[in-house]
Symmetry: C2
Subunit: 256 residues, 2 copies
DNA sequence: CGGCCAGTTGACTCGCATCAATGTATGTGG
DNA sequence: CCACATACATTGATGCGAGTCAACTGGCCG
């Protein structure tokens, strides 16, 4: 792994020059290791840093007054955890690990410096935020208007699509290290019902799950059942990048 | 209204100089009017522009295969609709009006220019995106893990808090021009059940709704019932602004 | 006047929660 | 190597919250 995860992630949006890669690399220094089951921060903790994910899986969550829990994001390598708290002094959610992980803290004020030094990266970070919104949006639809079967199917397809972007895997078989009670908390279902639902999905020969692994048996039919369209995970920055090029050839002070 | 809505909105984050106000004002030119019940765009339409809201209410939505609908955001004056599509070529949701409105289109490539001309505005736009994420997050919690009573109560308090930020109103009485079927679509409930739930809330003397108007009878108890904490709507940019000041006094090329 | 839309109310249904029992794998200390 | 505890998953029985269908009301408008 010569290039950091975050550089590989950002490269999927646009070509980066050496200075930009260096800036991004500087966000992924001095990794800290945490064991599976560890808590990185709790809701309300002071939010001074972001974390880039180098290795492993994490999730963010919120505990409710009645003790139940809502899981809000799943983070995989290349993601940045905490971007949301750019505008807040305290953490809006907790963050905990699903596997052993390596993550790298950088102070959120560093962001401001990046904005000052690279117009391209300003745009890309904004694009990342937009993409995160799109994912949340899709999950809202999922929670609001779908059956348990669709929720589970949709979630699996979302993770499948996100993982394929960076890691290609054959035969639609991949690791998904979320126990069923975490899946339930992500989808607004009970762990019991998640178990039943996987049963149904296997019965229908769409999908099967064993331990931490998923095999998708029929992607097309699964997508149809789930009402899954992958458009919200396929960004298109071409118009933005074109605007950047045009701008680059204008005299520095011109406003257009 | 001598200053545009968007300037007033952004001023709640930080002081702006004349150039920055001018840049923002330039995003709110040539307003277009739409009648209540109008559609601004549909899911899948080409996404070339953002819209700033000058007057009136709008909502974004997604239709499902089975004909049901999920409402995703409510927009009020000062908001910007479409920021999410910065990274996408097509609209992720539809956008329609709840009242007569005036909105102003600006091309999304204009964003790139703004990033290039004002470091403060770069930061503020990123903060706005972060805040939007926080709102979506809270709504996820709301949809995933709450009862109908809590959902309705929470939604009302969210709107109440957002509106109070710019418009102060006495006696906890305000306009909320969403018919019950739209509320239902926002909260993942049927219109019928929304009606029943408002009945319950009135019975409990927490809240009453008449036509397009809400009166909150007991804010504290309502917030308790809803599990509502307003922290997610109270941004704190102090650390970011401090970073900007420090940066301003450094020599231009220094990276720290 | 009649049609339409928003809201209310009641009867019935159903999806998923909850509770409980059981099974299986993994880990720990004596 | 066994006794025990813990985490995760599966399965069945039962109940409740909210959806659905339908009838009815009142206001608005042509």
């Amino acid at each position: 792994m010569d290039k950091s995860c975050i550089v590989r992630h950002f490269r999927t949006y646009a070509e980066l020059d050496a200075h930009e890669e260096e800036l991004l690399d500087s966000l992924e220094k001095s990794p800290q290791a945490f064991r599976r089951g560890g808590v990185i921060w709790e809701e309300g903790d002071e939010a001074t840093d972001f974390y880039t994910i180098r290795r492993g899986w994490l999730f963010s969550y919120r505990y409710m007054e009645d003790g139940s829990r809502q899981v809000l994001d799943i983070f995989v390598p290349g993601d940045i955890a905490g971007l949301r708290e750019f505008a807040f002094s305290g953490r809006l959610t907790g963050l905990a690990t699903l596997t052993d992980v390596e993550i790298c803290a950088f102070p959120k004020t560093r962001m401001t410096e990046v904005f000052g030094e690279s117009l391209l990266l300003s745009n890309l970070f904004f694009a990342v935020a937009a993409r995160e919104q799109a994912v949340l949006l899709e999950r809202l639809v999922n929670l609001g208007r779908r059956t348990a079967l669709q929720k589970v199917a949709h979630f699996v397809l979302e993770m499948y699509t996100r993982l394929q972007r960076t890691n290609n895997f054959p035969d639609n078989h991949f690791r998904l290290p979320l126990p069923q009670h975490v899946l339930g908390d992500a989808l607004g279902l009970s762990a019991v019902h998640v178990s039943r639902t996987f049963g149904e999905l296997k019965e229908a020969e769409l999908l099967c799950r064993d331990g931490g692994h998923i095999s998708i048996l029929d992607v097309d039919r699964l997508a149809q059942v789930a009402g899954f369209k992958s458009t919200y995970l396929r960004e298109d920055l071409s118009s933005v990048l074109r605007a950047l090029e045009n701008r680059a050839v204008l005299p520095p002070g011109s406003t257009g």
